[in-house]
C-alpha cells in the first residue's frame, strides 16, 4: 500500500477510536451533538478523510473506502445508542415533577367489622358442612323459651332481661329459637349457623348493648357426640384465631344444652400472659355451648334416643372488639365515618 493509502487507514483508525471515546464521554445531548459534528458532520473528520479517497491510488481506494464506511457505521451506531441512553436518563430530569404530591384518591367502602367477623365465622363453619340460615327477630315465648327448655318462671330466665311486645311475644333474647324452627322444618342431618340480632334489656354501656349480633350453631344427627363437638369448635378456633390458639371447655349451664360448656380461647391480645382483655386470666370466653338437651329434641319432635347433637352461641361484636382492640361496644353502633373507615 502506498503511503497515502496507509496514512488514511491510520487516520480512520484514529477517528474510530477518538470518535467512540468522545461519544462515550458525552454526558448530555449538546456534547453528543458536538461529537457528531466533529466526526460525522459535513465538515467533520470522517468527511475530511472521505474527500481524500480520490487521491489514493486506485488499487488501495477500494479498501480505504470500505474502511471509511465501516467507521461511519460504527460511529453512527454508537451515536444512536448513546443518544438513546442520554434520552432515557434525561427523561426524568426533564419532566421532573414532585411525585410526593398526594395521589388522586377514591373513597374506599367497606363492610362493618362485625359483618366481617360474622362472614368469617360462617365461612369456617361452611367448610364443616354448616349452612347459614336466618330467623325472625320478633319471636313467640314458645320458641324463645319453652321449646328451649326454659321455664318462664325460673332463675335461668334471670340471665336474660327481655323486651316483651305482648304477653307471648318478645324480641328474641338469643338466636337459639332458630334451632327449634330449623328442627321442626327439617330432618337430620342438620348443620346450621344462624347469624342475627338478639335483644336484651341491658343499658347501652361499654360492654353491653340492648341489641347485639349473635351466631347460633346447631349440629344434629345420629352419632354426634361431645368428642365431635369439641373437634368442630377446635377447628373453628384454629382457623379463626390462629393455629397456635389453645381452646378449653369448662362446665357451664344452659337450659337447652347438657352437658353445657363455656369455651375459652387463650388470649390473643397478650399471648395468654395476662392483660385487661382477658382480665389477667390468659383466657377469653368466646361461646356458650353444649350437647343439645333431650328436652329440646322432644319439643321439636326428634327422637332423643336416636339423635344427638351440639349447639353453640357466640357474640361477633365482642369478638370484633377483642380482635381489633376496640375498648367500647358503643363505638360499633355509632356509624362514625372515621371509625368505620379503619376497617374498610
Amino acid at each position: 500500500m502506498t503511503p497515502a493509502g496507509a496514512s488514511l487507514l491510520d487516520r480512520l483508525a484514529a477517528i474510530e477510536g477518538k470518535g467512540l471515546a468522545a461519544i462515550g464521554e458525552a454526558t448530555d445531548s449538546a456534547a453528543l451533538e458536538s461529537a457528531r459534528v466533529e466526526y460525522l458532520g459535513r465538515n467533520g473528520q470522517l468527511a475530511d478523510v472521505m474527500s481524500l479517497i480520490g487521491t489514493v491510488e486506485a488499487r488501495a481506494r477500494r479498501e480505504v473506502g470500505q474502511r471509511a464506511n465501516a467507521v461511519k457505521t460504527v460511529l453512527r451506531g454508537a451515536l444512536e445508542e448513546r443518544a438513546k441512553a442520554l434520552e432515557g436518563a434525561s427523561r426524568g430530569p426533564r419532566a421532573r415533577i414532585d411525585r410526593t404530591l398526594p395521589a388522586r384518591e377514591r373513597w374506599v367502602g367497606g363492610v362493618h367489622p362485625v359483618t366481617r367477623v360474622i362472614d368469617e365465622i360462617c365461612g369456617i363453619f361452611a367448610e364443616l358442612g354448616f349452612t347459614s340460615v336466618l330467623g325472625p327477630e320478633i319471636e313467640s315465648t314458645w320458641y324463645n323459651f319453652t321449646a328451649l327448655n326454659i321455664p318462664l318462671d325460673h332463675p335461668a330466665a334471670d340471665m336474660m332481661d327481655t323486651f316483651y311486645l305482648e304477653k307471648d311475644v318478645v324480641l328474641r333474647t338469643h338466636t337459639s329459637p332458630v334451632q327449634a324452627r330449623v328442627m321442626e322444618a327439617f330432618r337430620p342431618p342438620v348443620r346450621v349457623v344462624v347469624p342475627g340480632l338478639a335483644y336484651r334489656r341491658d343499658s347501652f354501656d361499654p360492654s353491653h348493648a340492648p341489641a347485639f349480633e349473635q351466631i347460633e350453631g346447631l349440629a344434629v344427627d345420629e352419632g354426634v357426640d361431645f368428642v365431635e363437638f369439641r373437634a368442630a369448635i377446635e377447628h373453628f378456633v384454629h382457623h379463626f384465631f390462629g393455629q397456635g390458639t389453645k381452646t378449653r371447655f369448662r362446665p357451664s349451664f344452659y337450659p337447652f344444652t347438657e352437658p353445657s360448656a363455656e369455651v375459652d380461647v387463650s388470649c390473643t391480645v397478650c399471648a395468654a400472659s395476662g392483660c385487661s382483655t382477658c382480665k389477667r386470666t390468659g383466657w377469653i370466653t368466646i361461646m356458650g355451648s353444649g350437647m343439645v338437651d333431650p328436652a329440646v329434641f322432644e319439643a321439636v319432635g326428634y327422637d332423643p334416643e336416636r339423635y344427638t347433637g351440639y349447639a353453640f352461641g357466640m357474640g361477633p361484636a365482642r369478638i370484633a372488639m377483642v380482635r381489633h382492640g376496640i375498648p367500647d361496644m358503643r363505638l360499633l353502633y355509632e356509624g362514625e365515618m372515621s371509625f368505620l373507615q379503619q376497617f374498610a
Binding site: G109, L171, G223, A231
Partner: protein, 841 residues
C-alpha cells in the same frame, strides 16, 4: 359466691398442688364453677395485736371521742384516743402501736388529738381491710390474751375465691359443697361444745313442744319448718376463728348467735334465722301469707307494707320476718337476748322470689331458697347451728326439736345406661369409670335393671365395644344437695365434668353435610354489600330502635318496656336510622358521609294473622331492608382541582345499579306516569324524608325501592353540610347472583356518529334513547348523551341534546353506507315523533 381457702382446707385437708390457691381455683374452674377472682384476706396485719381496754372515759374536749387505757400484753399499757363513742371497759379490740402500719400502708404515729396524746389506734374492720364496716371498732371475743397477733386470733391470712356459680349449682354456694368437689367427704369442724340430738315433735302442719308452737298455714309456700329453742345464752362477739371465717367470705361478724346461723349457711347452705324468743308474742310461729297492707320492718331498717303474694313468718299478732328472705327488726337478737328460737325451714322457690322481688330485697337466704336447698340435711344443719351457739354463747338447748310439715320424700334414683353416656360423650367409658367419677361427689351407684355395669371386671375397659356389650345400667342415688339432678342426661353431664371435658381426645369423626338449605337472604345481603362498598360506602350497624317520631319520620311498633324514649320503638324504616347516624357525624364535624345499613324493619301485618304457633307473632311484620345515605364530596379533595359534591346523578347511579343489577327493577322518576301499584310490602319504603323529585324502583308493577334527596325538615344539618341523598330498598326484591350467558364479542371496529339536536322542552331523554334503539337495527350498540345545553343561542326555548351513537357488526367492518342508513332512520324517527331538529354540521 365467696369461698375461704382455709375453710376448704380444714374440711378436706387439701394435699399436693391443690395447696396452692391458684391451682385450686383452676381445678374448680375446669370442673365445677369458674373462679373469677382470688384475693388475700387479712394480709398486712403484722404488728396489729389483740388489746384490752382497761379504762374508757369521755375525751374532755370532744363529745365523740373516748380516752382509753389499753393493755397490749406483756405489761405494755398505752393511752389511746378512740373515735368510737362506745368502748367497753374490759373489752378486747385490735390495736396498732406507734410505728406500726395499717394494711393499706398508712403509718401510725403518736400524736395529740384535741389536746390528748394518743399512742396508736384501735381499729375498725374497714381500717384493717377485713370488711366494709367503718362504723365501730372491731370488738373481739373474750378469752383472747392481750398481745396475741390479730391474724392468729382470726385464723388469717386466708385466700378468698370468688366463684361465678352456674344457676344449677347452688350446692357450690357453701364450703361443704365446694370441698366435696376437690377432696373426699368433708369433715366439719368439731365445735368443742355439747352435742344436740333432740327428740323430734312432728306434725303435718303444726308442732308443739319446748314451750312453743309452730304452725304452717300454707304447705305450698312452706313445705317444712323446723325449730330449736335455746335458753340462757350470753350474746357477745364471736370467737376469733368464727369471726375470721365470716370475714374471709366477706360477711360481717355481728354476734356469736347471728354468726352461728351465718356460719352454718356458708358451711351447709341452709339459711337459718335466730329469733329473740322473748319477743315472740304467744310464743308461737305461724308461716302464712301476708295480709294486705300489714307492716314489717326488716333487719336493715326498711319499712315494708306487705301484699298477700308475699309469705311471712308471724307470731300470734304480727308479721316478724319475710319467709326465706330477711328477719324483722322487732324480733332480732340483741345483746339483751337470753332465749332463742332457731328457724330451719324450706320455702317454695317461686314464693321466695315473689316475696323478695316485691320487697326489693335479695339476700344470701333468698338466693339459696330460689335455687333449691338440701331438704334432707336440715336436721343436721339445725343441729350444727345449735351446737355452735352452745359452744360460743352458752345456754341450754331444749331437748325437744320441732318439725312441722311432712318429711321430704326420698330422692328417686336414676337409671343411667352406660351406652347412653357414651352415645352423648363419645369418651368410651366403662361402667366402673362412670361409678368412679360419681362416687366421690356423693352419688351412689349400684347395678340397675339389666345389671352388669359397674362390676370390677370392666374397670378401665375403655372401648366402645365394652360399653355397648355390657348393656349396663347403673342405678344412681342422687345426694339431697343436688337438686339439679333429675334425669339421666343430668348424670351424663356429671360424668363429663368429673372425667374432664377434655377426655376422649385423639378420635376422628366423619364429615357430615347438612340437609338444611342455605337461606338465600344471606347471599342477597352479600350482593348488596358488594355493590355499595364498591361505590365507596361504609356499612353501619345500629340498634333497630328509634324514637316514635324522628324529625317527622314515624315508627309503628312500640316497645312496652323501652330503655329510653330514644329507643321507645322498633324502626319502621332504615333511612331515619341512618339520618340519626348522619347527624352524629355532623356533630363530629364530618361533612363527607357515605353509609349504608342492612337490617330489619318492623310493622304490623295487613289482613288476618296466621293460625297455630305462628299466631302469637303473626300480628307483626318484619321486612329486610337496605338503606344508604351519601353527603359531601364524590372523591376526597385533591390539589389538582376541587372535588364536587354528590348530586342527584350520583344517587341515580347508585339507586339505578341497585334496581337494575340487584333487583331486575327499573328506576323511574317518582312522579312518573308509569303505572305503579302504589301498595308496598310491609312498612312503607318512602317516608317524609324523601323530598319531591326522587326515584322509585319498580319491579313487576311493585315499588321495591325509593331514592332521592333528603328533605331539609327531616335532618338537623349544620350550615356547612352538603345536600344529603338517600335510598331504601326492600331486600326481598334482591335476586340471586345471575349467571350471564356469553355473547360473542366483535373483532371488527365500531363506527361512531355524533348527533346534535334541539327538542321542544318536556321530551324525556329516556324516550329519545328508546326511540333511537327502536328505529335502528341491532348494529346500534351504544347510545350515550354527552351534552345538554340551553340558552339564548337556541331558538324558541328549545333544549339542545348531543348524542354519540356507536355501531358495530359482529361479522364485518361496517361501511359508511351501513351507518348512514341507520343514522338516517334514526333522525327521521326523532324528527317525526318529537319534532327534533337535527343540527347538521
Amino acid at each position: 359466691m365467696n369461698i375461704s381457702f382455709n375453710w376448704i382446707d380444714e374440711l378436706v385437708g387439701l394435699r399436693g398442688e391443690l395447696r396452692d390457691p391458684r391451682v385450686l381455683a383452676e381445678r374448680l374452674t375446669m370442673t365445677a364453677a369458674a373462679v373469677e377472682k382470688t384475693e388475700n384476706v387479712g394480709a398486712g396485719l403484722d404488728g396489729i395485736v389483740v388489746s384490752r381496754v382497761l379504762e374508757a372515759r369521755p375525751h374532755p374536749n370532744a363529745d365523740r371521742l373516748t380516752l382509753c387505757k389499753v393493755d397490749r400484753g406483756a405489761g405494755e399499757v398505752l393511752d389511746v384516743v378512740c373515735g368510737a363513742p362506745v368502748i367497753a371497759t374490759g373489752g378486747l379490740y385490735p390495736h396498732v402501736a406507734p410505728g406500726g402500719e395499717l394494711p393499706a400502708g398508712f403509718r401510725i404515729e403518736s400524736r395529740k388529738i384535741r389536746g390528748e396524746l394518743s399512742h396508736g389506734m384501735l381499729c375498725s374492720e374497714a381500717e384493717l381491710e377485713l370488711g366494709r364496716d367503718k362504723g365501730g371498732i372491731m370488738r373481739l371475743a373474750d378469752g383472747l390474751e392481750p398481745g396475741t397477733p390479730l391474724a392468729a386470733a382470726l385464723g388469717l391470712p386466708d385466700t378468698r375465691l370468688t366463684l361465678d356459680l352456674n344457676p344449677n349449682r347452688v350446692d357450690l354456694a357453701c364450703h361443704v359443697g365446694v370441698a366435696r368437689e376437690v377432696g373426699g367427704p368433708p369433715a366439719p369442724r368439731d365445735f368443742g361444745g355439747p352435742g344436740w340430738s333432740p327428740e323430734w315433735r312432728d306434725g303435718d302442719s303444726e308442732a308443739s313442744g319446748a314451750g312453743v308452737t309452730v304452725r304452717i298455714e300454707d304447705l305450698d309456700r312452706c313445705p317444712r319448718y323446723m325449730a330449736a329453742v335455746i335458753r340462757g345464752v350470753g350474746v357477745g362477739p364471736s370467737p376469733g376463728w368464727l369471726a375470721g371465717r365470716l370475714l374471709a367470705v366477706g360477711a360481717r361478724p355481728i354476734s356469736n348467735v347471728v354468726d352461728a346461723t351465718n356460719y352454718v349457711l356458708h358451711e351447709y347452705n341452709q339459711p337459718l334465722h335466730a329469733f329473740d324468743l322473748a319477743r315472740l308474742s304467744g310464743a308461737e310461729i305461724r308461716v302464712r301469707a301476708a295480709v294486705a297492707g300489714e307492716p314489717l320492718t326488716t333487719l336493715d331498717g326498711q319499712e315494708h307494707r306487705l301484699a298477700p303474694e308475699q309469705t311471712v313468718i308471724a307470731d300470734r299478732d304480727r308479721a316478724i320476718a319475710f319467709a326465706g328472705v330477711m328477719g324483722g327488726l322487732d324480733t332480732e337478737v340483741t345483746e339483751d337476748t337470753v332465749d332463742l328460737l332457731i328457724e330451719c325451714a324450706s320455702f317454695d322457690p317461686s314464693g321466695v322470689r315473689r316475696t323478695r322481688t316485691r320487697a326489693g330485697l335479695s339476700t344470701d337466704a333468698s338466693y339459696r331458697f330460689e335455687r333449691g336447698i338440701d331438704v334432707h340435711a336440715q336436721e343436721r344443719a339445725l343441729a350444727r347451728c345449735v351446737e355452735l351457739i352452745l359452744a360460743t354463747a352458752g345456754g341450754e338447748a331444749d331437748l325437744i326439736g320441732l318439725r312441722a310439715g311432712p318429711a321430704p320424700a326420698p330422692v328417686p334414683p336414676i337409671d343411667v345406661r352406660v351406652r347412653r353416656v357414651n352415645q352423648v360423650l363419645g369418651f368410651g367409658l366403662g361402667g366402673a369409670e362412670v361409678r368412679a367419677a360419681l362416687e366421690p361427689i356423693g352419688f351412689k351407684a349400684v347395678p340397675g335393671e339389666g345389671g352388669g355395669a359397674g362390676t370390677e371386671g370392666d374397670a378401665g375397659a375403655g372401648g366402645d365395644a365394652a360399653a355397648d356389650g355390657a348393656a349396663g345400667v347403673l342405678r344412681i342415688s342422687v345426694p339431697g344437695w343436688r337438686t339439679d339432678i333429675a334425669r339421666e342426661i343430668d348424670v351424663v353431664e356429671e360424668v363429663a365434668r368429673r372425667v374432664g371435658y377434655d377426655a376422649g381426645a385423639g378420635q376422628d369423626r366423619r364429615f357430615r353435610p347438612s340437609a338444611v338449605p342455605a337461606d338465600p337472604r344471606v347471599e342477597k345481603a352479600a350482593r348488596v354489600r358488594e355493590l355499595l362498598t364498591g361505590r365507596g360506602l361504609l356499612e353501619a350497624r345500629s340498634l333497630s330502635f328509634m324514637p316514635e317520631d324522628f324529625r317527622g319520620n314515624r315508627a309503628v311498633v312500640s316497645v312496652p318496656n323501652p330503655l329510653s324514649a330514644e329507643e321507645s320503638c322498633l324502626r319502621s324504616a332504615m333511612v331515619p336510622v341512618l339520618l340519626r347516624r348522619l347527624e352524629h357525624n355532623y356533630a363530629r364535624g364530618n361533612r363527607n358521609v357515605r353509609l349504608f345499613e342492612l337490617g330489619t324493619v318492623f310493622g304490623y301485618a295487613a289482613g288476618p294473622g296466621p293460625e297455630g304457633e305462628a299466631a302469637a307473632t303473626g300480628r307483626f311484620e318484619e321486612s329486610g331492608r337496605a338503606g344508604a345515605i351519601v353527603a359531601g364530596t364524590r372523591r376526597p379533595d385533591h390539589w389538582s382541582g376541587p372535588a364536587l359534591d354528590f348530586d342527584l346523578w350520583d344517587l341515580k347511579e347508585i339507586a339505578g345499579s341497585f334496581a337494575d343489577r340487584l333487583c331486575g327493577a327499573t328506576l323511574v322518576p317518582f312522579d312518573d306516569a308509569v303505572a305503579v301499584d302504589a301498595t308496598e310490602s310491609g312498612p312503607s319504603l318512602a317516608g317524609p324524608w324523601l323530598s319531591l323529585g326522587g326515584f322509585r324502583a319498580v319491579k313487576d308493577g311493585r315499588v321495591v325501592g325509593v331514592a332521592g334527596a333528603v328533605d331539609a325538615a327531616s335532618l338537623d344539618a349544620p350550615p356547612w353540610a352538603a345536600p344529603a341523598f338517600a335510598l331504601e330498598f326492600d331486600l326481598a326484591a334482591v335476586e340471586g347472583r345471575p349467571v350471564p350467558a356469553y355473547r360473542k364479542t366483535s373483532p371488527f371496529p365500531a363506527v361512531r356518529r355524533d348527533l346534535s339536536m334541539t327538542l321542544p322542552r318536556g321530551v324525556p331523554a329516556a324516550d329519545i334513547e328508546r326511540t333511537a334503539r327502536e328505529a335502528t337495527s341491532d348494529l346500534l350498540r351504544d347510545v350515550r348523551l354527552f351534552d345538554v345545553y340551553s340558552g339564548e343561542e337556541i331558538e324558541g326555548g328549545r333544549l339542545g341534546l348531543a348524542w354519540t351513537f356507536r355501531f358495530r357488526a359482529p361479522d364485518r367492518t361496517l361501511t359508511d353506507q351501513d351507518v348512514e342508513s341507520e343514522m338516517s332512520a334514526l333522525s327521521t324517527a326523532l324528527e317525526k315523533r318529537f319534532g327534533a331538529r337535527i343540527r347538521r354540521s
